[in-house]
C-alpha cells in the first residue's frame, strides 16, 4: 500500500511538472502575442514602448529564467498578479472556489444518487419494459449540450413559469434556501451527462457481475435475491463505477466553465472566461494550472479510494 501510494504520488508530481511546462509554454511560446495584444496598434508603431512593456513584465528575460521564476512563485503560492486589477491571482481564484466547489459537489452528488440505483435497477430489470426507458434516457442525457440544457431550463422556469431564482449568489452558510434555489438548475445541468454516464456504467458493471459464478453459487446456496443483488452484486459492481466517476470529474471541472457562463454564476469558470476576453494572461495561466492540478488531485483521491475498496490492487 505504501509503495503504491508513493509511486502514484511520484507520477502525479511528474505530471504536474509537465502541466506547468505546458501551461507556461502555451502562453509564452507564441512570439510577441502577449504584449502586442495587450497594447494593440500602439506597440506596433513604437518599438520603445514595446521594449519598456516587455521589460516591465519581465518578458525580455530568457524563457528558462521566466519559467523558473514562475515555478518558484507557484511553489511559494505566488501565481503572479492580474494585469488588469493588480490583485494576486491565487486570491482571485480562492475567492471564486466556494461557488464552483458547491456546484461540482451538488452535481456529482445528485448524479451518483440517481445514477447508481437507476443503473442497478436497469440491470436487474434487464430486457424488461422498465429497462428501455432507462437506457434511452441515459443515451439522451449524454447527448444534451449543457449550455443548451441550461438555456432551455432558464427559458422554461424563469420566463414561462415565472420562477425567478436570485441572480445574486449568496453563500449557503448565510442563506441556505436562497443559495440552493440559485444552485438547483445549474447543478442539475452540470450533473446530467455524469448521471447518464454513471447510469450506463452501473448497468453494464452490474450485468457483468450478475453473470459471474459466485452469484450463481450464492443463489444455489439459497441466499435471498435481495442479498444477492445488494451484498454480492452491487458491492463488486461499484468498483468500475468509481473509476468512471473519476473520469467524469474531468467533465465536471470543465463543465463548470460552461454552466457558470449560462447561469452567470461568479465561480472560477467565469473568472477564466473573463480573463480570456480581457487577455489577462497571468490569470488565464494561473486558473488553468490550478484547475488542472485540482483535477489531478481528485483523480489521485479516486485511485486511492479504488485501492481501499479492492485490496487486490494493493499488490499491483
Amino acid at each position: 500500500m505504501g509503495a503504491y501510494l508513493l509511486r502514484r504520488m511520484g507520477a502525479t508530481g511528474l505530471t504536474l511538472f509537465g502541466v506547468s511546462l505546458l501551461v507556461f509554454g502555451m502562453v509564452r511560446l507564441i512570439p510577441g502575442t502577449v504584449v502586442e495584444q495587450l497594447l494593440g496598434q500602439a506597440a506596433m508603431s513604437s518599438p520603445e514602448v514595446l521594449a519598456s512593456f516587455r521589460h516591465f513584465f519581465g518578458l525580455d528575460r530568457p524563457l528558462s529564467v521566466q519559467y523558473v521564476d514562475w515555478l518558484a512563485g507557484i511553489v511559494r503560492g505566488d501565481f503572479g498578479v492580474s494585469w488588469l486589477s493588480g490583485k494576486p491571482v491565487l486570491g482571485m481564484f480562492l475567492d471564486r472556489v466556494p461557488v464552483s466547489a458547491e456546484l461540482a459537489v451538488l452535481a456529482v452528488g445528485w448524479s451518483l444518487l440517481l445514477g447508481v440505483p437507476l443503473g442497478t435497477a436497469s440491470a436487474v430489470w434487464r430486457g424488461g419494459f422498465r429497462d428501455s426507458p432507462v437506457r434511452v434516457g441515459a443515451t439522451l442525457g449524454l447527448s444534451l449540450p449543457a449550455f443548451w440544457q441550461g438555456t432551455v431550463l432558464i427559458l422554461l422556469f424563469s420566463i414561462y413559469l415565472g420562477w425567478m431564482p436570485s441572480l445574486q449568489w449568496v453563500s449557503f452558510f448565510r442563506d441556505p434556501l436562497t443559495n440552493l434555489t440559485t444552485m438547483a438548475l445549474p447543478a442539475f445541468t452540470l450533473g446530467t451527462a455524469t448521471a447518464a454516464m454513471i447510469t450506463r456504467m452501473s448497468r453494464s458493471s452490474m450485468l457483468d457481475v450478475l453473470g459471474r459464478e459466485y452469484i450463481r453459487t450464492a443463489r444455489a446456496k439459497g441466499v435471498p435475491e435481495r442479498t444477492v443483488t445488494f451484498h454480492h452484486g452491487l458491492r463488486n459492481a461499484l468498483i468500475p463505477v468509481i473509476t468512471v466517476a473519476g473520469v467524469q470529474l474531468g467533465y465536471i471541472v470543465g463543465g463548470i466553465v460552461v454552466v457558470e457562463d449560462v447561469f452567470t454564476l461568479p465561480g472560477v469558470g467565469r473568472l477564466l472566461l473573463d480573463a480570456i476576453f480581457q487577455r489577462d494572461y497571468p490569470v488565464i495561466q494561473g486558473v488553468i494550472f490550478l484547475l488542472g492540478a485540482i483535477f489531478m488531485l481528485l483523480n489521485l483521491a479516486v485511485d486511492l479510494t479504488y485501492v481501499v475498496l479492492d485490496p487486490r490492487l494493493r499488490r499491483g
Binding site: 505530471t15 443548451w148 440544457q149 420566463i159 453494464s204
Partner: protein
C-alpha cells in the same frame, strides 16, 4: 472481419431500427451540409431588416434572428462548420495520435517519453484544455480544429499503443520474427489491420464529444465567430433575446443534441459490433 460471429453481429446492428435511424439522420445532415447552396431557402448571411425576430412561419420555417436572417438556412450552413470542424479535428487527432502510438509501441525509450507527455494532456479536463488552447491561439475555425485535435490525439495514442503492445506479444509476431521479417514490416502488414476496429470505435466515441466541444467553444465565444453560422455561435447570439425570440437559441441546440445523439447511437452500435467484449448498453 470475415468470421461468422462478426458477420452476425453486423447483421444485428444494421437491423436495429435505432441504428438505422441514426445513420440516416447523419447521412441527411452530411448531404444537407454539402448541398447547402441548393437546399437552404436563403443565404445564411442575408439580412432582412423588415423581418427581425419573426417566429416560425411558412416563409421562415424556423423563424429569423435579430438581423432577419433565416434560422433554418443558418442551421443548414452550420452543418458544414460544426461537422466539418469535428471531422477535421478528429482526422488530425487520429493521424497524430496513431502515429505517435505506433512509435511508442515500438521502442521503450520513445515509449517512456511519449507516455509522460500524453499523461500531461490527460491531466486536463478536455473542455478546459480546448478553451486554454483557443484562448492562446485566438478565436476561429482553425483554432477550434487544433484545440479539439490536441484534446483527442492522446486518446488515439492510448488505443493504438495498447493495441500494438498486445499484438506484439502474440505468437504470430514471434513466428514472423523467427522467419526473419523486420519489425517495421510486421507492424505494417500484420499489426495495423488489427488496430482498425478499436480505432473506429474510438473515433465513433470522440466525434460526438468533438461536436459538443466545438459548439461549446463557439457558444463561449472562443471558437467560431459570428457571422459564420456555427450551431454553438447561433445559440449564443440568441441568448440575449431568449424571452423575445426563444427559437433562435432552441433550434440550434436541438440540432446539436440530435446530431450528438445520432453519433452516440452509431458509436454504441459500432462498439457492440466491432468490440463485443466491452458491451455497455
Amino acid at each position: 472481419m470475415a468470421d461468422p460471429g462478426t458477420r452476425a453481429r453486423w447483421r444485428r446492428t444494421l437491423r436495429n431500427p435505432l441504428f438505422a435511424a441514426a445513420a440516416l439522420l447523419l447521412l441527411a445532415l452530411v448531404l444537407a451540409g454539402t448541398l447547402a447552396d441548393y437546399v437552404a431557402p436563403y443565404s445564411p448571411t442575408a439580412v432582412d431588416a423588415m423581418q427581425p425576430f419573426r417566429g416560425p412561419t411558412i416563409r421562415h420555417l424556423l423563424g429569423t434572428d435579430r438581423f432577419g436572417r433565416d434560422i433554418l438556412s443558418r442551421l443548414i450552413f452550420g452543418v458544414r462548420v460544426s461537422l466539418g470542424i469535428a471531422g477535421a479535428s478528429i482526422a488530425a487527432a487520429v493521424g497524430v495520435g496513431a502515429l505517435l502510438g505506433l512509435l511508442s509501441g515500438l521502442g521503450t525509450a520513445t515509449d517512456q517519453i511519449l507516455g509522460r507527455i500524453m499523461d500531461v494532456f490527460f491531466a486536463f479536463p478536455p473542455i478546459l484544455l480546448a478553451i486554454g488552447i483557443a484562448a492562446v491561439l485566438g478565436a476561429g475555425p482553425g483554432t477550434a480544429i487544433i484545440a479539439i485535435a490536441v484534446v483527442y490525439a492522446p486518446f488515439f495514442f492510448r488505443v493504438v499503443r495498447g493495441g500494438v503492445l498486445i499484438e506484439m506479444a502474440q505468437m504470430y509476431v514471434e513466428a514472423a520474427e523467427a522467419l526473419g521479417v523486420g519489425r517495421i514490416s510486421i507492424l505494417l502488414r500484420h499489426i495495423l489491420r488489427n488496430l482498425v476496429s478499436p480505432v473506429i470505435v474510438q473515433i465513433a466515441v470522440c466525434v460526438s464529444y468533438a461536436i459538443l466541444i466545438e459548439s461549446a467553444l463557439s457558444y463561449l465565444g472562443v471558437g467560431v465567430q459570428p457571422p459564420t453560422p456555427s450551431w454553438g455561435a447561433i445559440l449564443n447570439e440568441g441568448k440575449e433575446f431568449l424571452a423575445l425570440a426563444p427559437w433562435v437559441s432552441v433550434f440550434p441546440g436541438a440540432c446539436i443534441m440530435l446530431t450528438v445523439l445520432a453519433c452516440n447511437i452509431i458509436g454504441d452500435g459500432l462498439r457492440d459490433t466491432l468490440d463485443p467484449r466491452t458491451e455497455v448498453a
